[in-house]
Subunit: 241 residues, 2 copies
């Protein structure tokens, strides 16, 4: 699948569908160094998923960076007393209605900027300009740091702010729908059973189960349905008929 | 010195001369939230200094963010087996000669981008656009992430990548010499005896002493000399005559 002559790349990997597919795409042309940031996020099974995906796709190294930052009150993705709740779909099919400003409550302030700056640091230490991120604007357009203009701007800033000055941020999923992403990863042999999306996992004896109701679960289901690919996700049984 | 009606600001604070002076400047017009990042840096006394300076200048809150990132081989500022050594001045007056590309070995890849992204995240959580950083290009012009063009570019990127979109990065020391910085802070009542600069502190019974020979010590001495202000730093005795 790869050879030692492939150029190195750093790939941001959360363990969800998008970043895992992004890694599968990057592996086509690069020796990959996967970077996962542990920042206190609610969906801890994602971290395990990142490790499974990294191993299955044969990365050179998988680093988990611990970031002890206090996100108090600023996002629903990191549990704290004052944070908003993870929204749930009313019908288990459509995502919840977005807030008035269009930015989901699961938005984490400046998250991709923090991750890309860390990725740029590692890429520079490795001596490569290549940095991959699995952002896409189609299904999550409410996140400001998933837009092409943002990616261009942060690339320009990180070029000016590093020694090499030639950073290349690759966002190969930018224009794909969730269905197209799942189809692409499936073609590349990615096992989506290894990935994790749910923001609100439920404990179960055989391991965590996806709630099936949070926005991330809804988008995931939609992706598999659109792609015509069986959904391998273990969903929790729900009360709703 | 301040009132509750002052707008909030996040101030990046390492505990050195520049960031401490920047905090003193910011305190003139803002309620300040100081942000220190603990990233395994060699000069641990800097962290204590940051706490002392934050208290003395009356910040609302001082957060220390732990970042467990492996900087292996990429900077002299974080100790590891493969890292270059902190350079020492040959005559205890002039800094060491810079490497051929002009970037000091104490450069930390993408450091200010990581710090500014974290600062932008906190500022957004606090509901303020104001973020201060004590970079200046005069005495440390070898660092790519201390230049005005970089600060402008990262501000543009962080505006695009956050919900508010109105981040203002203030770099009030950008055009000052080290001497002008020390004079400014002294006018503002900052006690530089609380700050710490040395990259290579020496243990001593009464507390750590500055080596007096690393580039950071040389710049510090030069600042006090230029400003005509007594240097309160406890330097270690050296062998040199």
């Amino acid at each position: 699948m790869s050879s030692a002559s492939q150029p190195a790349a750093v790939v941001l990997l959360s363990g969800g569908i998008d970043s895992s597919t992004c890694l599968a795409v990057a592996r086509q042309q690069h020796e990959c160094h996967a970077l996962t940031v542990e920042y206190g996020q609610r969906n801890a099974p994602e971290l395990d998923a990142a490790g499974r995906v990294a191993r299955s796709l044969g990365v050179v190294e998988h680093r988990i960076v611990e970031l002890r930052f206090d996100w108090r009150g600023s996002t629903a993705l990191v549990p704290d007393l004052g944070a908003p709740q993870v929204p749930r779909s009313a019908d288990a099919v459509a995502p919840s209605a977005p807030p008035p400003d269009g930015v989901p409550v699961t938005y984490v302030p400046a998250r991709n900027s923090i991750f890309l700056a860390l990725g740029a640091a590692w890429a520079e230490a490795l001596g490569t300009p290549h940095l991959f991120i699995g952002v896409n604007r189609v299904d999550y357009s409410g996140y400001p740091d998933c837009r092409p203009a943002y990616v261009e701007a942060i690339q320009a800033a990180l070029r000016l702010g590093t020694r090499r000055g030639d950073l290349q941020i690759h966002a190969p999923l930018m224009e794909l729908t969730k269905g197209q992403i799942v189809r692409r990863g499936t073609e590349l042999g990615l096992d989506y059973g290894l990935t994790w999306s749910c923001y609100d996992p439920q404990d179960a004896p055989a391991g965590p189960r996806a709630c099936g109701l949070c926005d991330s679960c809804i988008h995931r289901k939609k992706g598999f349905a659109e792609a015509g690919v069986p959904d391998p996700t273990p969903y929790a049984p729900t009360d709703r008929g």
